[in-house]
Symmetry: C2
Subunit: 430 residues, 2 copies
């Protein structure tokens, strides 16, 4: 049973905070284990990567099969049915079209003093994309990570994907093929992150590592941060559905279930102004769960982390939504466009009754890699900017330098950086 | 003596890699110490913060003096001479004017299928700014961190600054006053980062922590990342001057010294096409160092980490510059505008002979918080975007949902996420 809260209850604040702060992941301390793996890969390179891969993934790779060959990619991709290829191509094209609009423009200008100022964007040279293997091995995630990198102009994309027991989903390789990713290694875990960050003889190092993974992958990303850039520390997925009397309870229930079926701590929360709707949705979730081929994971997720909260107004719903700062926020309400400004913290907002979150996972065009675990308070979903960086441009001529010199030298002196001051005053004709 | 390399030497590649990979910081492992401090602050809140502050900063703070009072800020600010106030105000206004141009625009559009897609930017609610105390206590850094946050629309800025032996530079408080920062705590180190990230009874938690600090601060930021956002892991500062025959050796020398005087691993590198210039600059640095009030730090930095590299062409200089990916790149050459496109990885580029890097530290208008330690390969300087986040907007109507449904459901099935597929198909009128 999901928890039921009403914002008018006297113990609401306390129970809501419990919901907010409740851990949804076993916070396994794998810091030391990951540090050893990284040190091992740095010291022994490929040999360590091969050994650790065979050990942790129960695989049987050798140095010359670490990379998945062009033939293997082509043959796996060709084995995927045409309707799946068409669907992934549609997804790719829509993701590309949307992300192309995110590409930033340089802006260089001269200010009234004659100082040249500006911002110039350039792509990262080489990016590593981590794609989980096994259960959560999603071809859509290959597209969501690779397409913005390609749009950004990243010259080299190295993809890693573990192949537990030697198995890989052919649709993963098809998605890579569609996205134009050709450098793929059958490795995963902290050893893959270490290889990408520090390089080995056969895996050249990259400049940034993106993509979700388990606790080992997340911890490895945290530890290599600085050596390379990383996107974010991904946590369990989540949805918040805000519904008013215009919502269809069966549709709302289906969306709550879609989130819960991710398992692994995924959380579905309904906030509604209608007590009646709350009851109907609750019953509908129960009814629809029974129809699901993989009922158990979704039911367990809903029972353990699900919540239904009744509030007296949409304004109150917005206040809670901003505190939850959910990865996904669905507005199953009459006027989603008018209301959306009230939601300040969300990875993505889905407008109206005909926008199930799942459409955004695949073919909407926006990115499905979004900030989880309340990090939408400060973080954004993956996008083109994550694969580019900004260089500041500054230029003075003798006149503008002279106009700025006194203020600059004064501050340099306050900071006791006399050499800074001298580097300015030495250029003045006095 | 700085090292001297020539790109034509047979051992150049090996020595250049040594230069690139040389550690400039004692990589003190403070992980465990920092983890204990964070755990202590989480467990005991203010009491731990007060205790640790008095212990590490040799200060004498009490719970009711953790915050610096409005009177104290006003009185310290009033004690600063007028010329310094004017200089900081000039810096503030120019930083504001430049950063105002970085504010991103929302972009929401409808695609040919009728799908609403968009990107919406909102400010982070609450930001913590870490300002180092003691030797490296720079009022300019207060402005560089606070102004972009203010421009972004951040409602609450909490500043922390340690006061070793109870002392604080009044210009720091003046800079805060000019920037409109009113919430200031006299705390530092890992305990300050922990208080900002997790909150205490008297210090409400923030959503993001920015600003440079020592190994404890950097490690604490790494450990709290995810709980809050962070800007970057700052390392020692660095400059790369690229000079051709048109460069003034005395000016180049002054700029190399300005960087070296930061100490703490700061690095100055000259890459030049002119062997004669290399020699003259080398001698000039030596001569000018002797004129510096604090000669010793700068000389030590130059001797230990400085480098002069001769190359046969500016193209070769660009190749090395992109491998170094320096925080600051000065183009002391004849045609800096024409050449700057060749520099793909740099925190900031300074154009021409009249743009010493120090002008950008203070009053140029661009930000002086820039990626160090080769992280310009993947990271950008601090800016308005660091204090905002992007929310994706997606909206379908019955017609566009219906047009996208088949592809989405197909991918959901490939990923064995049947609930995802059902959340789409349940909405179709079939």
């Amino acid at each position: 049973m999901p928890i039921r809260l009403d914002a008018a209850d006297s113990d609401f604040e306390q129970r809501f905070v419990q919901l907010l702060e409740g851990k949804r992941e076993a916070s396994k301390d794998v810091n030391d284990a990951v540090a050893s793996i990284i040190a091992d890969v740095r010291a022994r390179g490929d040999a360590a990567v091969v050994e650790l891969t065979n050990k942790f993934d129960h695989a049987n790779v050798a140095l010359d099969t670490l990379a998945i060959s062009a033939e293997e990619i082509a043959s796996a991709a060709a084995s995927v049915p045409d309707n799946i290829r068409a669907a992934l191509q549609t997804a790719h094209d829509r993701i590309w079209a949307h992300h192309a609009k995110q590409k930033p423009e340089d802006h260089i200008y001269t200010d009234p003093l004659g100082v040249t100022l500006g911002t110039r964007w350039t792509p990262v040279d080489a990016v590593g994309i981590y794609v989980p293997g096994g259960l959560a091995s999603y071809p859509s995630s290959v597209l969501m990570n690779a397409v913005p990198a390609k749009v950004a102009g990243v010259a080299r994309i190295a993809m890693v994907v573990p192949t537990p027991n030697g198995e890989i989903n052919p649709a993963i390789l098809l998605a890579a093929q569609i996205a134009g990713v050709t450098e793929i290694y059958r490795i995963g875990g902290a050893q893959a992150v270490a290889a990408l960050a520090y390089g080995t003889a056969s895996i050249p190092k990259v400049d940034k590592v993106v993509g979700p993974g388990n606790a080992y992958v997340a911890t490895a990303k945290r530890q290599v941060f600085g050596q390379v850039g990383i996107d974010m520390i991904a946590g369990p997925s989540e949805v918040l559905v805000i519904a008013d009397g215009s919502a269809n309870p069966a549709w709302v229930a289906a969306d709550l279930i879609a989130q819960a079926e991710h398992g692994a701590g995924a959380q579905s929360i309904l906030v509604t102004t209608e007590k009646g709707l709350a009851d109907t949705v609750d019953a509908e979730v129960d009814r629809q769960l029974a129809l699901l081929p993989k009922e158990e994971i979704a039911r367990q997720g809903w029972d353990e982390f699900g919540a239904i909260i009744t509030v007296c107004s949409l304004d109150e719903a917005a206040i809670l939504a901003n505190r939850i700062a959910s990865e996904h926020v669905e507005l199953a309400i009459n006027d989603p466009q008018g209301f959306m400004g009230a939601i300040r913290h969300a990875g993505a907002i889905f407008l109206g009754h005909h926008t199930p979150e799942a459409i955004g996972d695949y073919v909407g065009g926006s990115n499905h890699v979004l900030p989880t675990a309340r990090s939408a308070r400060f973080a954004s979903g993956l996008g083109v900017l994550d694969f580019m960086k900004r260089t500041s441009i500054l230029g003075c001529d003798p006149s503008s330098l002279s106009a700025l010199a006194e203020a600059a030298v004064t501050i340099a002196e306050v900071e006791a950086l006399h050499g800074h001051g001298r580097s300015i005053s030495i250029r003045l004709n006095r």
